[in-house]
Amino acid sequence: MIRRTSPIRLGWALVAVLPLVFAGCDDETVNEPTAVAPLFVRYASLGNSLTAGIQSGGINDSTQLEAYPVLLADAMATDFTVPLLLSPGCPPPYVNIFTQERLGGGAAPPCALREAPIPTRINNLGIPGAEVVELFNYFDPGLVPSETDAFKTFLLGGLTPIQVAAAIKPTFVSIAIGSNDLLGAALDEANAGDPDRVTPPATFAERYDAMLDSLDAIGSLEGGVLIGVQPLQLSTGASVPYFSPGAAWQQFEVAYDAQLDAAITAATGGQITTLNTLDVAPACTTVFVPFPVGGAALGTANALAGMVFDSLAQGIVWIPTPFTLACTDETVIIAEEWVNLVTAAAAYNAHIQQVANDRDWAYFDPAPLFTQLAGTPGAFRPFPAFDPTDPQHETQPFGFALSRDGIHWSTLLHEQIAAGIADAINDQYGTSLSP
């Protein structure tokens, strides 16, 4: 018996089949961020001017993209957005630290604008001049106004790095902070090395922990790397060249005097054989002289010498009173202050490392790299290249590891720092980052 299919059954079957014919499943998908490991899909870097990418006393879209966080992000193959500043920069980097000439020359604006269109999110949260507390609080009463304060609005719109980080929900962070808790004192023009401007280690630790608590509150972190404060004193016992030992200035004075003596002898046909425009006081023997202080003294001495030779050209013999680099407590970092700075740096790093250990995060101590470089000729000059005839006078006045301002890392050092941080991350997380 043949059973006929009911039209009613046929109709219902048709309606059941039609969705398969027409619709299918044509869903589009979320474009999730990618990286070499899930840990790195959203990476944020917090820190100061080293993180932001300042080199040679300036910052622009070139120096920003040479900074270690960008190199790390490249190795992570993760999206990483930087608040780029148009060339020549804000301020433009120095072309010559001694003449204070900056990129773009005198016609360049003192501060170029942010690159447009502005990014929809920011991953590099470095703020030049930032102390640890400023990663989460711009209004701590202990903060001293600084010309770098403008970056808080210019780079992050007045939001703290932690506030901006909250918007991107980072899975991984690098934090390099603490140098300015020391440098504020070291660079203080009213009293270099002022112990009152050094963030006490206990306070530093408290603020560092509070900063991390704020990061934890975002709720997205899966890991991180904490970066120690760079050493002020190299393993050789020398300081970084921005803070020249007074003894080095005393040695320099001898050579400088000899140069002037030779010059005045030649200029007067031997009638005058001695010219002294710079005295380095005995008090300098145990102190550290900030580059601007020494540079200003040398500048004055040079000016005096110039006046002497100008006078001679007019037939006038004029012997000036030499300018004295007095090395008073206010202008230089005396030994006790230096010890205080070095001790504080060690205490900061001890806490940072302890926190990293407690969290099972990576820790990178830059000291071994600095030690290694200290043994490499030309990396850190023992004394700035003041002499205009020095081949490195304009390009590497503080050595090839440092940019033209003597404090911020050179492009090469950023690369080596990035490699060192990557090694620390790889050791902790079993990854294979290779910047």
Binding site: P7, I8, G11, W12, L14, V15, L18, P19, F22, A23, C25, D26, D27, E28, T29, V30, N31, E32, P33, R42, D79, P83, L113, R114, E115, A116, P117, I118, P119, T120, R121, I122, Y138, F139, P145, E147, D149, A150, K152, T153, F154, L155, L156, G157, G158, L159, V164, I168, K169, S220
Partner: protein, 462 residues
């Protein structure tokens, strides 16, 4: 009785809040629970509830006596936006939206029938949290177009009927969006043309809420239909609903919104450290000048529609129906906002015409009960570059089921359910830069949109 009942009905439904997108674009097609149960197939074989006034005016021809029906479709749309980068999802906060409909028909002669309908064929309601990253495109939007349509249907002979209706359309719209401070001009000494974003204000920093409300826009259109019954058990219908252009006259109100920024030292505004940015903005006086309350006149065209369908009844109690619908969505290429003080704004939408395919069944399975079911598919109107919080629209599949219950000889209740599944679609949460057109490169996440619809109509024959 009919007149007073109709009056009450209109008063009741005008107070309700239409509507939400339940078909292509911001079209709504659920204007009769009977038709809704069969996936919206109403052109080739209109239901006897008077909804033919909307679905095919020819369908009222030949109706004897009078019919009054009142109904509502409750639309509960849900979904959200998942950000590509953070993976975070923001959910829509759409409430259950009632979309009313009401019809009246009366057979004047065996061949001539008069009717009147009230329905809302175009409506839009999207409500996002005020913290949603797409709030700069729009976070609380409501558009409604109420059609009032007197109609005549005429049965030329036993094979052909025709019908026509005149549409009086009453429209209203409300758009809410946040304004982005980073796009505003920077004060001196920044060079002319510099935006605040270029001096550091972060992308999508809200500083003002813009609300445009407009109501009482009026427009006129027509609805025309033909119904052919070549043989017993077979009917073919076609219908054309004309476009209606609505020019709204509205108000734009700007209110200050908190930026959440407290200015640090050395800020470009020269304000002391600790000054809220909101204070600086308030002192600029923008809310008394360029952002003062002003006229804001949107202009939107409700597109025309063509529907053609066929219904076949292989047995008397069972009907299979299919319908094709074309909607002229390419008319919605821009959303124009004319301001009294601010420069006029043109938002590119670039919608494309859409095709919808509907398949329905109706089965008088037992005495006094009719079962309905259906499936419909339609294309999305929004192109990939204009899928936005205003209307995250896309290709949809919809499944329907319905039940008609003859409570008495004169009273019928229809119930229906419809599930809308829209394909997940990539979209954006930001506007293109001024002077540029939107592109898919701006898309930064995935929109998900589904809806449950519940329909109920009560019809009374007299």
């Amino acid at each position: 009785m009919p007149r007073s009942l109709l009056g009450l009905a209109v008063l009741a439904v005008v107070g309700l809040v239409p509507a939400s997108a339940a078909a292509q674009g911001f079209q709504v097609n659920e204007h009769g629970t009977c038709v809704m149960g069969r996936a919206g197939v109403g052109t080739p074989k209109p239901c006897g509830d008077g909804s033919a006034v909307f679905y095919n005016p020819a369908g009222i021809a030949g109706m004897t006596g009078g019919t009054v029906s009142l109904g509502v479709t409750g639309i509960y749309a849900y979904g959200g936006f998942t950000d590509d980068y953070t993976g975070e999802t923001t959910d829509l906060e759409n409430p259950l939206v009632p979309v009313p409909h009401a019809y009246f028909t009366y057979g004047i002669t065996p061949k001539l029938t008069a009717g009147f309908g009230f329905f809302v064929p175009y409506g839009l309601g999207t409500k996002w949290p005020e913290t949603f990253e797409g709030r700069f495109n729009g976070y609380d939007n409501d558009l409604r177009s109420m059609y009032f349509q007197p109609t005549l249907g005429f049965k030329i002979n036993d094979v052909i009927s025709v019908g026509a209706g005149f549409d009086f359309v009453l429209g209203s719209v409300e758009l809410n969006q946040m304004l982005d401070l980073s796009e505003q001009p920077a004060p001196s000494p920044a060079p002319l043309g510099t935006s605040l974003g270029e001096v550091g204000i972060p992308f999508h920093t809200q500083f003002a809420n813009a609300q445009i409300t407009a109501s009482h826009a009026t427009g006129f259109g027509g609805n025309f239909g033909v119904l052919v019954t070549p043989t017993a058990g077979v009917s073919i219908g076609a219908r054309y609903l004309t476009r209606v252009k609505l020019d709204y006259s509205g108000d734009a109100v700007f209110t200050q919104a908190p930026t959440g920024i407290v200015l640090p030292p050395a800020n470009p505004f020269g304000a002391p450290a600790g000054t809220p940015l909101d204070t600086v903005i308030a002192q600029l006086g923008v809310f008394e000048t360029v952002l003062a309350d002003q006229g804001g006149d949107p202009s939107i065209t409700m597109p025309d529609q063509i529907s053609v369908g066929v219904a076949v009844s292989p047995v008397e109690s069972f009907t299979i129906m299919a319908e094709w619908q074309w909607v002229h969505w390419s008319l919605f290429d821009t959303l124009k906002l004319d301001f009294e003080i601010l420069p006029d704004k043109v938002i590119e939408e670039n919608y494309a015409n859409t095709n919808g395919f509907r398949f329905g069944l109706e089965w008088d399975a037992v005495r006094n009960m009719t079962f309905r079911g259906g499936y419909l598919y339609h294309q999305g109107a929004a192109p990939p570059e204009t899928v936005t919080p205003l209307l995250p629209e896309g290709t949809r599949s919809e499944f329907t089921g319905g039940l008609g219950i003859h409570l008495t000889d004169r009273l019928v209740a229809d119930l229906a359910y419809q599930y809308i599944r829209q394909n997940k679609r990539r979209g954006r949460v930001r506007e293109p830069l001024p002077g540029t057109s939107p592109t898919v490169e701006l898309n930064s996440g995935l929109y998900k949109f589904n809806a449950h619809l519940f329909g109920a109509t009560l019809r009374f024959h007299f």
